[in-house]
Each structure stands twice: as C-alpha cells, then as structure tokens.
Amino acid sequence: MAGLTLASPTADAPPLGGHARYVSPSRETWRRFRRHRLAVAGALLLVLMVLAVALGPLVWRVPIDDIDFAAQLAGPSWSHPLGTDDLGQDLLARMLYGGRISLSVGLAAMAVALVVGTVVGAIAGVSRGSVDMALMWLTDLFLSLPALPLLLLIMYLFRDTLTALVGPQLGVFVLIVAVIGGLRWMQVARLVRAQFLSLREKEFVEAARALGATTWRQVMRHILPNSLGPVIVAATVEVAAAIINEATLSFLGLGFPPDTPSWGRILYDAKDNLDVAPHWALVAGGAIFFTVLSINFAGDGLRDALDPRKVM
C-alpha cells in the first residue's frame, strides 16, 4: 500500500545554487510543460474560465435573479447568450456567478486538503516513532471513512445549523470546503511523508544538517520545497475532485440553496427540463466537464514536467 503513491517517490530536483549556465527549476518545468500540447490547451482553457468568472460579471451586468416569466426556458439569443431557465433568469449571468462559487469551492477545498495534508505529512516525516505512528494511524482512520456517504451525511445534518450561524451562502460554502478538504487530505499527507522520508536522507539535507541547520530550517529551506512537485500534481487532482463533489452534493439536493446557483445546482435544476431546454443542462454540465477536463490535462502535464526521470 505504501508503494501506491501517485507520482514518483524520488523526485530529485536539481540542487540549488548555481553557476553560469544555470536554468531555474521553474523555467525548466515550464519548458517541459510546454511540450505537452493538451496540457497547454487545458491550462489555457482554465485561465480563460477563471478570467471569465472573475471579470465576466463586471461586463455582463444582468442580475442573476431577475425573474421574467415571458422568457421561460428560452434558448440562446442576443439578450440571453446562454438562454434562460424555467423562471426566465439569465443563464449566462448565473453561470458566471456559479463559476465563481464552483471554482472557489474547488480551490478552497484543495487549499484545505493541501495545508492539512502537508502539515500532517511533514510532522510525521520529521518526527520518528510514536508521533509518526499516531499520525499515520489517524491518516489511515480518515482513509477508512467512507467519503461520499460521510460527505452526504455531514452536509445533510449540519447544513442548516451552520447556515443559521453565518448565512446560507457562506455557511454552505464553509461546510462544503471544510468537509471536502477534511476528507481528502490523507493522500497529500502520505505523499509528503514519503517525500520527507526519502529527502531527509539525501546528501544536500545531510550537508545542511552537518552545517548545523535547525530542524525547522532543514524542513522549510530544504526538504519542503523539494517535496512540492508531487504535491502540486496532487493539488490539481484535488481541485477537480472538489468541483465534482460539490456538483454531486448539489445534484443530490444537499449542496447550495436554490438561490445560490453553483454549477452543480444549476445542473440539478436543469435535469427535469432536459428534453425541452437541453441548453440549460448542457451549459452547466459542459462547464463542469470542461473545467475538470482541463484541470486534469494540466495536472497530467505538470506531472510529466515535474518528473525528472521522464525524458522530454
């Protein structure tokens, strides 16, 4: 089981410090990444999407909740480029707004998973013995929790309590992010620990140790930066998983409330009208699909680019 990490366990980055023909690691990665055409396309698409949802609402100023019964379920037109839903609300505005939610859920959940996973993995990797044992037991315990059922359960049980505390949108957002992040940090923790275990025995860390660097300095300056490669790749997987999870929750009616149109929620609302207003479901389903697809492609490219064993 320990051998089952996603990326190479020995991602030796080129040692730091340099001479004349020095190529920085990030530049080298970028050079390798560029060779992967689908990954570049994915990354471009992703950037476009992020720009669209970030800046789109500033340009397209139609309110998301303007009810217009005269324009129910209308297909794409000049006044509604993506058509309307069953209340005549403008889908483009809702998609742009929903994209902010869906993407930020993905990013925030990834951040939670990454931070928790890195901290747990790093502590376990640095300390030996009982702390390591305990943390890895905790990791295994969390891995043994049935993710989707538990996700549904917690959402179902606590959504309203939290909503009552901090308002519907923020409440659901915090809960979704916390739960998705809280149930997905384990892979990252294992990755980081494995990296730490191998890196701490490497010559450059030993050299730092011999020069009297504190454990803190060894970790922050030498080990952690060098273990980030696989973590970055794992992060892309997390973003995609979080977006799909949010969509699944919303699809089962346990995600955002109806007046908060995340992409998953829009798709959920659209499914009953799929035969007469296919544009509605296709727009939402397509957005989820293309986002996840482009993240996956970009992540795949990154994995190859960050894997020094791979000849490109």
Binding site: M1, L148, L153, I154, Y156, L157, F251, F297
Partner: protein, 319 residues
C-alpha cells in the same frame, strides 16, 4: 504471514472503534427528527411523536446511546430501524445481492476496458491509438456520473425507447427471459459506473505497464528473440498487474460509495440508496449501520490490497 495478519487486525480494531465513535457523534449531534412526517399531519396528536422518541431512546445522552449501540453491535444486533420498525441487518441483507450484482458487473466492465486498452496503449506509447485512448480516458473520468446517467436515460429510454430506466430487483420472470430483462435494465447503470471507473483504471494500467516495459529484464526477453506478444503477456503484464490489482481492491469501497448517485438515478435498490433514503428519513440506526459497513469495507479491502500486493510481488516482505 500469519503474524502480519494478526498485527494488521490488531491495528484495525481501534480504527473500527474510532470510526464508529466519529459516526455516532456526528449523527447524535445532528438536528432533525425521524418522526417529522408525523409532526406535519394534523390528525396525529403530537404526543405520539414524543412517545416514539422516548421509546427509541432518542432522549438519552449521547454516551449512553453509544454504549447501548456498541453493546448490541458486539452481540450481532445491528439496531432497529425507526422508519421500518425492523432489524437493520435484514434491511442490509435484502439489498446486498442487487448491490453486488450491479457493482460487480460494472467493475468487470471497467476491467475489461481498462486492461486491454491500457496495455495496448503502453506498448505503443504516443501512438495515435494511445493518444485517442488517453483523451477518451480523460473525458471519461471528467464526466460526473450523474450527468452521464441523465444523458443515458434521455437517449436510450426516452428518445429511443430501447431500455427501461427503472431498475426492478425482482423481475417476476425466470430462465432466459430473466437474463434478457436483467441485461436490459442493468445495462445503463452498469455502463455508467463501469465507464467512469474504466477510464481512470485505463490510466493506471497504462502507467503500470509503462513502468515495467522499460525495465532491463524486458529488454533481455526481447533480446532472447521472444515474440513481442509473448514478451508483453508473460513478462510485462504479469508484473505490471500487481499495482493495478491492488488499486482495484483499494478502490472497491469508493465504488460502493460512489454508486449512490447511480443508484438514485436508476432506482437500483442497493445499499447506497438505502443510505440516502435513511438519511432523508432521519433513520439514524440505518444510517449508522450502513456507514459503518462502508467503513469496515474500506478496512477490509485495505487489508486485502496489502495481502494481494505481497502475493503478486514476492519482493515485498511482511513485517
């Protein structure tokens, strides 16, 4: 080997206990009430709901309820469903065959796709076939199952009228008729699950084979003049299989969990849909038991994966 197994089991016990405490606390802290439907019915006096709460011990402190539950569980009593007023174990056993059938079939489909495609792609990396397969695999696991499920229903049931979209556990026919009917109704849910799983496994199979195919002993085998097919089948696939099989074992619990959405869409009376309906009815004992079963499945399959890995790859020593 025996000692290793014992050690692993010893670690598993506290894990199972820990999980049960987490689940129980989550459930007990939750708002909601199993008898809400009664509350909105003006013909039922409110005292009835109160009496039922007392009868099922819902007013006791959490710790007491947990100990009750644990004691009963140790004696093989899984609890008693509020909503159905029957034993939870009966509910689960009733639904197990359907779940196993649908999920089992979907996993076979997934393997039948993933292994040949993955191996073939890996033997010709960056060929046209590999690139198409790769792209399709990405598309496959980027499409959420609820979306594919709905598209399937719309296409094959509503427009084409080819397949039924309501899954019936008991078809009321026998013999070949049964096989045919079962095939028709299971096709869509099995394909939705199988394609999704197959897509991601294709990727794993490909990279596992790629890892092996560059190794020296494969070059040696080629150099001996063995036919390429013999090299691939005998030397590469056998050795690449270990991580793939382990991965399959490891992902089984997630498959059971992930099937919830598919079960909902196609009305497959499996364990996942039992969980969802129990949650909607606030039927705590059922929710508790089903999530607990899922958790035990994870631990069990982790163990199986470990053992399988060692068995397939003799270099791994059990400590």
């Amino acid at each position: 080997m025996g000692r290793y197994l014992l050690k692993r089991l010893a670690i598993a016990v506290p894990s199972v206990l820990g999980i049960s405490i987490v689940l129980f606390t989550v459930l007990a802290l939750a708002p909601g009430d199993p008898f809400e439907e009664l509350a909105s019915n003006p013909n039922v006096p409110p005292a009835v709901a109160m009496a039922l709460r007392a009868k099922f011990g819902l007013d006791d402190p959490i710790a007491v309820r947990y100990l009750h539950w644990l004691a009963a569980m140790l004696q093989g009593d899984w609890g008693f469903s509020f909503a159905s007023r029957m034993d939870v174990s009966t509910l689960i056993w009733q639904r197990l065959p359907t779940t196993l059938l649908v999920i089992g079939l979907s996993q076979i489909v997934a393997l039948l796709i993933a292994l040949p495609v993955g191996v073939f792609s890996a033997t010709r990396p960056y060929s046209l076939f590999d690139q198409i397969a790769n792209t399709l695999a990405f598309i496959g696991f980027s499409l959420p199952t609820f979306f594919t499920g709905i598209l399937f229903i719309l296409t094959f049931s509503i427009y084409l009228h080819w397949l039924p979209f309501v899954y019936r556990a008991d078809l009321g026919v026998t013999g070949w008729r049964w096989v045919w009917e079962e095939f028709r109704q299971a096709l869509m849910p099995v394909m939705v699950l199988g394609l999704f799983q197959g897509a991601s496994w294709t990727r794993y199979a490909r990279s596992a084979v790629l890892d092996v195919i560059r190794l020296d002993y494969v070059t040696t085998a080629r150099a001996k003049g063995l036919a390429e097919s013999a090299v691939v089948m005998k030397h590469v696939v056998r050795n690449a299989l270990a991580p793939v099989v382990t991965l399959v074992a490891l992902s089984m619990p997630a498959v059971f969990g992930g099937a919830i959405v598919t079960e909902q869409i196609f009305r497959v009376p499996g364990i996942g849909s039992l969980l969802v309906s129990a949650m909607l009815a606030n039927d705590t004992p059922v929710v508790m038991a089903v999530t607990f079963v899922f958790a035990c499945l994870v631990i069990l399959f982790n163990l199986i994966a470990d053992l399988l890995y060692g068995w397939l790859d003799p270099r791994i020593a059990y400590r």
